[in-house]
């Protein structure tokens, strides 16, 4: 049957008889399945309507914006991977009007962001040069900056001086001199500058700091801290050949080549390596929760795994900070490595009465406190809903034959921290920035705080190079 092309399958008239003209029956049967395509089109249209409604409903999850909400005119400066993350969060925040996107990769990053914003019915202009954008977009109120670290200072200073409020990604700058200029510019212009240490606005971190550490003092005196960000090996970032940026433009903006442009985080003078990209977020929390800046740092690190031809910064770093807190000395360990992602990222604060394990992630180590057996009862805090009822250690899980040494500490009970963030991780911090512009909130990470963290973190790379214990002078943290 199959090989018999010449025969009409159901033996009807028409093609089977060769030269005969097409008759009505042929045309009808020929078009008989076209209505299925119409049905498909209708079903697809309905599905798209449904998707759109879902998207809008998700955006409406937040309390409805007040009718008189003043619109803020926003530009995105730097629309690469991180710019996209921030954009996704901002699209869920009411009361923003996007006006411009600036990115030197006009062929790709800029085009993508403009296309997405147009889809959301924003009339945005694309720019390659931030100064041209500041010249032409007179109505801008705020600029959100997600460019490579070495551009943060010039971009932030120019935007502040043009009278815009600025949200700038961390690390504030790759140099302290650049970070200082940012602090000064914010002070001189009186404009707001929020640094993107987004955990500072995370409801679980705020709850832990304000309720568990400050009010309930659940941990007692914190003596040791440790934290990590382990990340699996990932190949260098590539790019579609037809979207290669011409050399002249790359050089104009401080990049040697397309691979360097794509992988700037690994290059000295452009970024700070994993300790800055990843560690900075968590070491910022050490300073915040301990209520102090460190006094000393020792560090070991190296380019142990990656190809030195395309990587300059250390792929593996282990560091110990010493703190003099109001309650006494504390030591804080931190490691980051980029060869194995097992165990992910978290911070652990250990006091003489309890332990706090916390992370930004909702998936693993999101938030628990463990009461030390000799601490006062936590029943009051459970009743108030600050922490969950204890999850008792299950006896059954232990190996019956294992013999516990009498010197071992009894495992403490685990209490969960009942705070879940259902929005993208960066949304609360951006929301805090826009609320501050409207005057209904104060910044959770003003430039002075971002500067202290920059001083704390950038010193690690210095300590690795110096191969010795370095000290921080208290005035180093001041601008």
């Amino acid at each position: 049957m199959a090989h018999d092309d010449e025969k009409d399958q159901d033996g009807g008239p028409g093609s089977g008889l060769g030269g005969k003209k097409l008759d009505r029956r042929d045309v009808l049967l020929g078009l008989s399945t076209v209505p299925a395509l119409g049905l498909f089109g209708e079903a697809w249209r309905k599905q798209r309507q449904y998707d759109q409604a879902q998207k809008e409903a998700a955006a409406e999850d937040a309390p409805p914006p007040p009718a008189d909400l003043e619109e803020i005119n926003v530009a995105l400066l730097g629309s690469g991977a991180q710019g996209q993350v921030l954009l996704d969060s901002m699209l869920r925040i009411p009361g923003l009007r996007f006006r411009a996107v600036c990115d030197i990769w006009t062929e790709y990053n800029q085009k993508r962001a403009v296309r997405i914003l147009k889809k959301y019915k924003f009339d945005v202009n694309g720019y390659e040069d931030h100064r041209e954008m500041l010249d032409k977009e007179k109505d801008l109120d705020a600029v959100v900056i997600a460019t490579p670290d070495f551009w943060h200072a010039p971009h932030t200073v120019d935007c502040l001086e043009a009278g815009k409020h600025v949200y700038c990604e961390k690390e504030m700058s790759n140099t302290l001199e650049g970070a200082q200029r940012m602090v000064h510019a914010a002070r001189e212009t009186g404009k707001l500058l929020q640094i993107g240490h987004q955990r500072r606005s995370h409801p679980r971190y705020l709850h832990s700091y304000e309720k568990l550490l400050q009010e309930a003092q659940l941990l007692g005196r914190i003596v040791t801290v440790n934290g990590q960000w382990n990340r699996a090996v990932s190949p260098d970032l590539g790019w579609p050949e037809r979207y290669t940026i011409p050399d002249a433009r790359l050089k104009q903006y401080g990049f040697k080549s397309m691979p360097q442009f794509r992988n700037w985080r690994w290059y000295k003078g452009l970024g700070g390596g994993p300790i800055v990209d990843l560690g900075s977020h968590q070491i910022d929390i050490y300073n915040w929760f301990l209520g102090a800046n460190p006094s000393h740092v020792i560090a070991s690190g190296g380019l142990d795994y990656h190809d030195p031809a395309t990587h300059e910064w250390y792929d593996t770093v282990m560091t110990v900070y010493e703190f003099e807190t109001a309650k006494g000395p504390a030591r804080a360990y931190y490691q980051t490595q980029t060869t194995n992602g097992s165990q992910g990222y978290y911070e652990t604060f250990m006091g003489d009465q309890g332990t706090l394990v916390i992370s930004e992630s909702e998936a693993a180590n999101s938030g628990s406190v463990y009461r030390d057996p000799n601490a006062p009862a936590w029943d009051e805090w459970v009743r108030r809903g600050y922490i969950s009822a204890p999850k008792l250690q299950e006896q059954g899980q232990k190996d019956e034959d294992a013999v516990l040494d009498v010197r071992e500490s009894v495992s403490p009970d685990e209490h969960r921290i009942p705070v879940v963030l259902r929005d993208p991780y960066h949304q609360p911090h951006l929301q805090n920035f826009f609320d501050a512009i409207r005057g209904t909130a104060t910044l959770h990470c003003p430039p002075e705080v971002g500067y202290e963290t920059a001083v704390t973190v950038l010193k690690v790379n210095e300590a690795i190079e110096a191969k010795e214990r370095l000290s921080f002078r208290p005035e180093e943290f001041e601008v």
Binding site: A2, D4, D8, Q9, D26, T33, L37, W44, R112, G238
Partner: protein
């Protein structure tokens, strides 16, 4: 009914099967085309089995990956249209078989293999990909486009023009 031809009921059934598979292909295609940024990268990188290296190679180079993505999206869409409309049915079903064979080989449910894709169902060697592949083979060998589909018109027109001597 002549030997080697299908009865009316049989042909209606085959055409219905063709339209359903076409619908599936078409939606797989257009949903990828209209997504913000769809790529087969994750799927390819998760490949297991004897040809895993080949699939990972497809995803390794961004330029190559972009080509694979385009071929996939447009291939699915055009095959879907061809099957629904009965237009170039044999070409569409043969291409569909190749495409599904690739999907199957990317993550074959062989003995002792377990992975995250597919996430639903329980499969041993045979999975829904293989079943759809076999169904396309039925479409291929029955040439149903010439019974009910644009092929009937195309074929008729071509014949009239090209082979006047036949009659």
């Amino acid at each position: 009914m002549k030997e080697g031809t299908l009865s009316r009921v049989q042909m209606v059934t085959v055409v219905a099967l063709r339209v359903l598979i076409g619908w599936h292909f078409l939606y797989e295609g257009v949903s990828k085309l209209t997504a913000d940024a769809w790529s087969a990268k994750g799927y390819l990188l998760q490949s297991r089995g004897p040809l895993a290296e080949v699939f990972r190679w497809m995803a390794a180079d961004p330029e190559r990956l972009a080509t694979v993505d385009q071929l996939n999206m447009w291939g699915l869409t055009l095959i879907g249209l061809g099957l629904i409309l009965g237009c170039f049915t044999r070409l569409a079903s043969a291409s569909g078989i190749v495409v599904i064979l690739l999907f199957y080989l990317c993550n074959p449910p062989f003995v002792g293999y377990f992975y995250s894709i597919p996430a639903e169902g329980s499969y041993l060697i045979v999975n829904k990909n293989l079943v759809e592949l076999a169904a396309l083979a039925v479409i291929l060998v029955t040439g149903s486009g010439r019974a009910a589909g644009l092929d009937r018109i195309i074929h008729g027109l071509l014949k009239k023009r090209d082979r006047p001597a036949d009659s």
